[in-house]
Amino acid sequence: MSTTHPVATHVRPHAAPGASTLAVTGRVLRQLRHDPRTIALLLVVPSLLLALMDALWTEQPQVFNRVGLVMLAIFPFVVMFLVTSIAMLRERTSGTLERLLTTPLPRPALLLGYGAGFGLAAALQAAGTTAVGFGLLGLQTAGPLGWVVLIAMVDAVLGVALGLLCSAFARSEFQAVQFMPVVVLPQVFLCGLLVPRDQMAGWLQAISDVLPLTYAVDALQEVGSHPAATGRMWADLAVVAGAAVLALGLAPAPLRRRTSCALGRPGRAAAAAPGAVPATPTPGTASWPRPGRRSPSAGTTARRSGSSPRPRGSTRRWCTTTSAARKSCSWPPSRHRAIPTSCCPPCSRAARRSSVRTCSGWCSGSGTGRAGPPGSR
């Protein structure tokens, strides 16, 4: 339709290296642009929290100065971690990730594109928070502001990179959000904000030493107390950047191209797995080939029933459905008024569990784009 050339002779164009990374970055930013509220939250919330802290410590400005500075490292890290892991997870659950993996887009380009897009958002956020902190709230450092912004930005990219890495291990939004207390909070506790690092127990210090956020905080504290950039600040910054690169480098590995079960496919809970009972024609009924019957439960039961075909006439149930659902569930088509509940996983499950006979109108294979029940795997 878009070409008059025979496909076989068509010279296949290729996206230039780097172009696909840019395409992903552009797309991520465009998605953000269509979501002004998220942009507003990204830009405003850290500044508001900083103002809240300022109010909290009006009597002790030196405490606010210490904590506020550390917060400039913590906010972008936490926010970017969350935003990125959720964005990546959405990509997975919406099926677009699987689709992208069938296109020529290399996986590192996908991740780099994400990193660059959210990194840019993070830079804006860091600049905004720094401006508010120093311009309005009276934060002070011995060193120049530029370093503060730079450190906050590198730190935000670290959050992006860790978010990308962790999201590969999350199967649902709930899990992704749980990674925050697991991955992020220990770093916040041990970075020297709550208790100065030299007052921690030895083993806590040892843990703190291997957590990258520690180095971002240390770098900011260096800027806070020295008028010029110190070697230690650069070393800290290098560690943070190195950790971000490492996380980005590791992230493609768990992002498998081939999966045994597409993750997050709606309505594909294990309980909906088939018993695959060879349907035995039931005397007296139109012997339509029944769809692969759903087993009472996944796993062993299904296996057992898979090897012992039994007549199903007595246990057959029908559910009444909306006409839309009937259309998409039309196997067998048109013959029957009602649909076998086995055609529609939620219905079959509901019907088994109770006397519920009414289909919610959700059917596997429905083209309405409606999502099924939250994946329960």
Binding site: M1, V7, G26, H34, A270, G292
Partner: protein, 241 residues
């Protein structure tokens, strides 16, 4: 001409279940092959194996002479998933242009693909504001703009009104006439007659691989739905015997 797709003794497990049992078949190039079977029979799984995103237990899948999923195939094989996999928070045009950039074709090709699926008027709309059928067509447009030689479409016509369905089938045949190999799945038998070839899948086993005419002749009925029934009964009789 060589087959566009060759599947040899393909076995796929999902979770602890065997979903595809030892499938072997070939798909000829430049034709529309229909993959028909009830919901849950393994159509989507088979398609995932063809585009190389499904872990397979054993067997071989060769597409255009290469193992399915190899890097060289990714710009030559298009895949439209069953549920529309496009970005709901982008406009139709932005979606198309994004995929166009991945395939290395220009924005003009993206806009043409959007027009080809009849969405020119909705190009500036956010995908989440579209109807289910329209979303499906956006998804289709994003696969077409790479000008794939093999196009794998998972239930592309579900939920579409009859007029659109006919139009889409005409498009499929137009593509096939230009040399594209199409594999189109469906769980409604009334689409079977529109295919050049039919693969009937049931419970992960291939019941039949023939043209619609051959199927009609073999089963002695003009009604493909009835023909499918008879094939199932035949097979059951064999199993029982």
């Amino acid at each position: 001409m060589d087959a566009a797709v060759t599947v040899n003794h393909l076995v796929v497990d999902r979770g602890r279940h065997r979903v595809l049992h030892d499938l072997s078949f070939q798909i000829p190039p430049g034709q529309v092959t229909g993959l028909l079977g009830p919901s849950g029979s393994g159509k989507s799984t088979l398609m995932r194996a063809l585009v190389g995103v499904q872990v397979v237990r054993s067997g071989e899948v060769t597409v255009l002479g290469r193992p399915a999923g190899s890097a060289a195939l990714r710009s030559r094989v298009g895949y439209v998933t069953q549920s529309p996999s496009v970005y709901a928070d982008l406009t139709v045009r932005e979606n198309a242009r994004f995929f166009a950039a991945l395939y290395g074709v220009g924005a003009a090709a993206a806009d043409r693909a959007v027009a080809d699926v009849g969405l020119a008027d909705a190009a500036g709309q956010l995908v989440r504001d579209l109807s289910g059928g329209q979303m499906g067509r956006v998804s289709l447009a994003c696969a077409l703009l790479g000008r794939p030689e093999v196009l794998v479409l998972d239930e592309p016509t579900v939920g579409l009104d009859p007029v659109l369905r006919v139009e889409l089938w005409e498009q499929f045949h137009a593509l096939a006439d230009r040399g594209t190999t199409l594999l189109v799945s469906s769980h409604v038998m009334d689409e079977a007659g529109r295919c050049d070839r039919l693969l009937l899948l049931r419970e992960g086993r291939l019941l039949s691989d023939s043209t619609p005419a051959e199927l009609r002749a073999r089963t002695g009925t003009d009604d493909l739905e009835e023909a499918f029934l008879r094939v199932v009964r035949e097979q059951q009789a064999e199993v029982a015997a």
